[in-house]
Amino acid sequence: MTNNITQRDAFWNRVYEMAKVNRNIVIVSADMGAPSMDRIRRDLAAQFVNVGIAEQNAILIASGLALKGKRVFVYAIAPFITLRCLEEIRVQNGLMKIPLTIVGVGAGLGYEDSGPTHHLIEDIAIMRALPYITIHSVTDSTMAVAVAEMSCSMKTTNYVRLERKKLPDVYQPGADFSAGLSVLQESKDYYIISTGNMTHRALEIAAQLNRTKHQIGVIDVHTLPINGELLVSTVKGAKRIVTLEEHFLMGGMGSAVCEVLADRQLLIPVKRIGMSSAKGYCYEYGGREAIRKYYGIDKESVAKTVVDFFK
């Protein structure tokens, strides 16, 4: 069971097990730790490389190791290993298709008390603009384990965005994530499409509304680019869709959903719920929910928006 363990520890525990029997696996860290990482550093020292707080070099060293045939995991705080290294990733992993697994911790507002330098609310928009990069927006620790395993057979780069806080498991061990999205609840009329930690919120709200009058479906988009065929076949015939993410609205998962629908001329009204860039960055403290409130994605605001839209 992976309950009561963070996505990060679930992920690295699995990598540890795999790296013990596959000496070709190398972990490059930009001075980023974890209880699970301590074991890797101690027991697998020859497969562990610390580049210091130098994320650009982490991507470059990792890419060189991958060219040498290593299966490389690169690890840092999520905004730094993505946004700071965007151009390195573009050249090494986009232009040259060198396969890495880029692991970032702190998706969304996970580093709630650290201020906006550590909030990660643009990465889906930015990383999905790059060809040959698969985004795994991880929902729970069970999925984190599955993604760790999947990473070892990827031919191109994947970016694994992990939630920092412990979350309950949504999925059963052994769940299959290969379809790229999971239909957690079906509905004829209304769907909430969510990603990452917001899938937990989507399930809460759906449960709340299902007790009243609506049957709300929930789709967890955990892999981008989105599996458009599956998404369309699932929501075809639905009356309304809400997308939900802890991310700026511009270019995020909700935008990606709208692109899928628009390109297939599927005309379903969509309401995107996320963070407006007009609100800028947030220097509020006092917990994640307070920051979410600033952006209008706290539980109460989301529920109200969903209810209004599904009226």
Partner: protein, 285 residues
Amino acid sequence: MNKLVSKLEKKSFEIRKRVLDICVKAKTGHVTSSMSCIDVLVALYYGGILRFDPKKPEWENRDRFILSKGQASPALYTVLADCGFYGCEELDKFAQKGGMFGVHLQYDVPGVEITSGSLGQAFGVAAGIALGAKMDKELFLTIALLGDGECYEGSIWETAMFAGHNRLNNFVAIVDRNYMCATDFTEDLLALEPMTDKWSAFGWEVKRINGHSFEQILESLSDIRSRRSDRPVVIIADTVKGEGIDCICNIPLWHGIAPEGEMAEMCKTVLKGRYIDLEEKNNDK
């Protein structure tokens, strides 16, 4: 040695001439940036330094040569064609429709390891390859050629620190120190000196040579497989941007362009003149 040096000088002239021709024909290409590092490339590829097999570009024991200053691609493309990695006719299609390569280096050309052009990146990738070779206890060398202007990129120093700390003594850097960037002389726009002290402080063994003297280039590389040092080595090669074509040497803004029309003819004449001088020098010996 003298015979080898004469051979290399002659080869160097041929490569320079071809690089100028293909860039003039394509009306593009970094002519001056190529000229400054051609002697180093010729020493590496024809002076018995690099281990490679044009028939098997992916040979796993080959030395990894990483041209981090990817704008000098016309020079490397010409050398690779001349060494037999692909036909010389490809050079005539440089940066043109139907050609296999353009102005910046690209990884899918036989004999080329990486795409570069975005400066400050390939050096780090090279260090990763060298580290991988150490992990696998392999004996090939990784040799990276950097531009001096590229050394303004912070990532160069992230990598330099990493390679020094990790004792990558299978890693060689050569800095093409031509003292110029695109718009100005390096020491005027933002001083890079003292280069020797900087690299030394980052844990590297440093050699400083005249990058247009084959005697000095070969001497500096003569022990790269038998050094007793556990440190990576950097060779700072003092060069001239545009070397061989005096009429475009050391002129700010003569960067990233190819001469056209009368200027192109003048460049060809000047280059030829240098070779006649060279022949006379060799005949006098």
